[in-house]
């Protein structure tokens, strides 16, 4: 790693101020992606401002019409939360499938969503549960937030404070894990949002999370899940696009079977 300063933020304002004045500073929460990328020298920073312990970013609560999860909540905390299990069981299930126990003990939901890895799990839930990504300066609808391969609507220095999820009637997640990394080769989140309709989202198979409208229509109509057709399917050393398209169909069937 190149040298950098490390400092715990005293407050959200302190962190935002530091990021605004130093363009090479970056926020650190769990560090499960950022630290490896610094170790590989894929990334270089002047300082890391640790926001993981900030009180403003903690907490899980269920309100009348939404579930709130603070940005610094660790994957294991979400997986173990009785509130999440009651309000959105697919989300608790998803959190428990991320990485491995050591990674879940450190990684945070805000970090995962801000990073928008095309094979990360949380983006599938954020998009399927029609969530709002709340930052210190504004609110962003999930559909506007994710902008493909590691890209989001976040501005430099903007910090996610938490995510507001719609409460689904039913929800489930199915994932085929890459056996070494634990990332999704294909992950499918299915959510029944009641009056707001049925949503099926796919992660891991494409260059970024996306809604799979053909599967939503099939689910609504009670017909069988089609093979995934998408213009931007990943094709790499792990699997060709055709394999991932098939895997997405199988994962969709598994998710819907859990809801049957």
């Amino acid at each position: 790693m190149h040298a950098f300063e490390y400092r715990r933020a005293a407050s959200l304002n302190d962190a935002v101020g530091t990021l605004a004045t130093d363009g090479d500073a970056r926020p650190l929460a769990g560090g499960m992606t950022l630290i490896p990328s610094l170790k590989h020298r894929l990334n270089q920073v002047s300082q890391l401002i640790d926001i993981g312990g900030l009180a403003d970013l903690q907490g899980i609560s269920v309100q009348a019409d939404h579930l709130w999860i603070g940005a610094a909540m660790r994957h294991q905390q979400v997986a173990d939360s009785a509130e999440v299990a009651r309000a959105a069981p697919g989300l608790a299930q998803l959190a428990g499938l991320i990485g491995d126990p050591q990674v879940r003990a450190r990684g945070t939901i805000g970090g995962s969503v801000a990073n928008n890895d095309p094979a990360a799990d949380y983006p599938a839930a954020v998009l399927a549960l029609d969530a709002v990504v709340v930052t210190e300066r504004r609110e962003l609808a999930a559909a506007d937030f994710f902008q493909g391969f590691f890209m989001t609507a976040l501005e430099p220095g903007e910090l996610i404070t938490g995510i507001r999820f719609k409460l689904p009637r039913r929800s489930a997640y199915a994932k085929f894990k890459h056996p070494a990394s634990g990332y999704a080769m294909a992950g499918v989140f299915a959510a029944d949002l009641g009056a707001a309709g049925l949503r099926v989202t796919v992660t891991g198979a494409g260059g970024g999370v996306f809604r799979w409208t053909a599967a939503e229509q099939a689910w609504a109509g009670g017909s069988s899940v089609p093979t995934l057709e998408h213009p931007d399917l990943l094709e790499d050393i792990h699997a060709p696009a055709r394999y991932r398209a098939h895997l997405a169909k199988v994962m969709c069937e598994q998710a819907l079977r859990q809801l049957a």
Binding site: Q47, L48, D100, G182
Partner: protein, 156 residues
């Protein structure tokens, strides 16, 4: 920067760089070389230690992030005698080369703290972050079962 951590019950005050990793503090500053660095990319779990009782990969945590925390390494697990997990690994022959063993044992300790009587599925999931290239895992799983029953017996 200065950090204060408790390692195996002993308070330590150390001068580190911002980029210093927790595993570097343990191995290089404190000479606790029982914690291994296998892959250095947070895959293998050889560097697993307990931070405030929770298993984490010390190659992917900055020393600064551990400031104020209580760390347990393989050297501090058993005290004067071997910990029941260490005994079970010995008796079940849950290792061959032994490189992954310290991390494995710390993960098992973290797992048993959460699930004192784990199912096979919970054992396998609990060790998903630790790789062993020798044993094929069968004896490791047997050791977890034995440690769980030994610890349940000593708690009763």
């Amino acid at each position: 920067m200065k950090i204060s951590i408790e390692v195996n019950g002993k308070a330590q005050s150390l001068e580190v760089e911002g980029r210093t990793l927790l595993v570097e503090v343990l191995r290089e500053h404190l000479g606790l070389t029982g914690t291994h660095v296998g892959c250095d990319t947070s895959q293998c779990g050889c560097c697993t230690v307990l931070v405030d009782g929770q298993g984490v990969k010390s190659c992917t945590m900055l020393a600064g992030q551990a400031d104020g925390c209580r760390i347990t390494t393989i050297e501090g697990l058993g005290g004067q005698s071997l910990h029941p997990v260490q005994v079970a690994f010995t008796e079940c022959h849950a290792l061959q080369c032994g490189f992954c063993t310290p991390g494995m044992i710390m993960s098992v300790t973290s797992l048993l703290a959460k699930h004192p009587n784990p199912t096979d599925e919970q054992i396998i999931e609990g060790l998903a972050g630790n790789l062993c290239r020798c044993t094929g895992y069968a004896n490791i799983i047997a050791a977890v079962r034995q440690a769980a029953s030994a610890m349940a017996g000593s708690a009763a």
